[in-house]
Symmetry: C2
Subunit: 301 residues, 2 copies
């Protein structure tokens, strides 16, 4: 496969101001791989329990996502997350997390997986991310993380950041990681840790790509109905990495388009619960929204 | 004059993490007019006390801003604001406000002022804004407001919004005014109140221009050193209105460039206390930063 992702496959229960969905397919690796599957062939490294049904697998099959590296633990229970969004939809309140089989997750990679040229380390324990990174002889590696790891396993996290090309995090995390309120200075500190680039997710404000000598920012799609923000960041990363994996070369121009495709995929993902919207998404819809992003930012000199 | 602004001229005392400045020239009409003066001829409608010195007037003279409509109240004291910014610089904490001569401000306009084709109603009591608006036979009128008026004088405010072309407010204010967390829906409600367009200021995330059938967004300039955010919104509005006032026609293309010039002026304004940075700004610097904004948002299809 061209693109490999390691991360959670979960069963989510989500409450938003617009509805409730119990036990729906979720997890970072799920949202990532479904989004990326519109651009390239993707494989998932994850673990589930035997409560994970054939129906749950259906999305992966439909999108031709490789589940060769999806481990199933007999007698185990799949990772479960229960969360709630308030009126402004900006921050999820976690009501319950059951790690279940994820607590002892030791990623096992097939030989084919180890040869993936593109690798995404979704938000899991930094030492696991590093372990996977070292097994894959990838050409381009990106990772996500979160405040939990920044606060509790900082040293491990810094070791992992050192060995990736891109760090994809939200702006509060970037500020916290760098201990610096100004985002430009925070980015400079983070780039000094090793990565070539920082991709900053800004929710409804869009995303930015910051490298040592360039800055690019895009707005988010101006959605009138954000229905369920769960997986926005992961589908963003999926669009970004998926687009890169199918490109002929990774130059600044490609990276910028990848940021916009990431934003496109995130904007579709939040329109419905779980992967519902992406399951009936078409390449034409993706392209159309991509062109709209061009229009949103265009001005003549 | 081409562009008239009514609003506060103040003496500010500001504390930021980087320093303290006592009794420096401030106020919405000041920041607005200084920024706009790089594009067109501007006049200020405001009131000061006799503690307002010749030195305080110097900035207006340097920038050839008309003070024919700047009233001086004998024995009166100029409006004073004391504020403080924390580490993240996003929100000012007001420590003290002395309205002084501003409490009884009744804007008086010269005949020349009444013929200004462009008018900006800076953040003051909505009934005063409307009074001025009705005296000026302007071609294009924009206004600012704040949470204080949204909460306390909502009906008056709605009457004023009805008679302007553009409302220029920050995103929290737009949501509060519309009673709607989703910005796109909030914008739709606000446009239904009368204005042709809503300009949303998003601080470090940039600005957006929303009309009934178009959406444009720009990032903010990625500054490594935001020194003092006071006046950012007003210098933004000054760049926006100043650029419009010198343009041959107001079409979507002009409006988009105006949003970017507004962002350029705001980015310079926050680099130093008061109007210090704008006093030594050059047209070449403005143009150079404008071109950088183009580069920040550019991607190929």
């Amino acid at each position: 496969m061209s693109l490999l992702v390691v991360g959670s496959v979960a069963l989510d229960s989500v409450r938003t101001p617009f509805g409730v969905r119990e036990r729906s397919l979720g997890g970072a690796a799920t949202h990532f791989s479904v989004a990326a599957s519109f651009f390239t062939d993707v494989g998932v490294v994850a673990v589930v329990g035997d409560d994970f049904t054939d129906d749950d697998l259906q999305v992966f099959r439909e999108r031709r996502i490789s589940i060769d590296n999806l481990e199933r633990v007999p007698g185990g229970k799949t990772f479960r997350w229960t969360g709630e969004y308030g009126f402004d939809l900006n921050t999820a309140k976690t009501l319950d997390t059951e790690l279940n089989v994820f607590a002892d997750f030791a990623p096992k990679l097939s030989d084919a997986a180890k040869r993936s040229p593109f690798l995404f380390l979704a938000n899991i324990q930094p030492s696991l991310q590093k372990e996977v990174r070292q097994q894959v002889d990838a050409r381009f590696v990106a990772m996500d993380t979160m405040n939990y790891w920044i606060e509790r396993t900082r040293d491990e996290l810094l070791e992992t950041i050192k060995v990736v090309d891109a760090l994809i995090i939200n702006d509060a995390e970037a500020r916290e990681l760098a201990g610096e309120a100004n985002l430009v200075r925070a980015a400079r500190k983070i780039l000094a840790l090793g990565p070539q680039m920082l991709v900053v997710k800004r929710g409804e404000y869009g995303a930015a790509l910051i490298s040592r000598d360039s800055y690019f920012a895009t707005t988010a799609y101006p959605l009138e109905s954000v229905f369920d923000p769960t997986g926005a960041g992961d589908s963003f990363a999926g669009g970004f990495m998926g687009y890169l994996a199918q490109a002929e070369q990774i130059d600044l121009s490609t990276l910028r388009r990848a940021i916009v495709y990431g934003s496109v995929m995130a904007s579709f993902n939040v329109e419905e619960f779980s992967c519902d919207r992406l399951r009936r998404l078409t390449p034409d819809e993706i392209r159309e929204r991509f062109l709209q992003f061009k229009e949103f930012s265009h001005f003549e000199l």
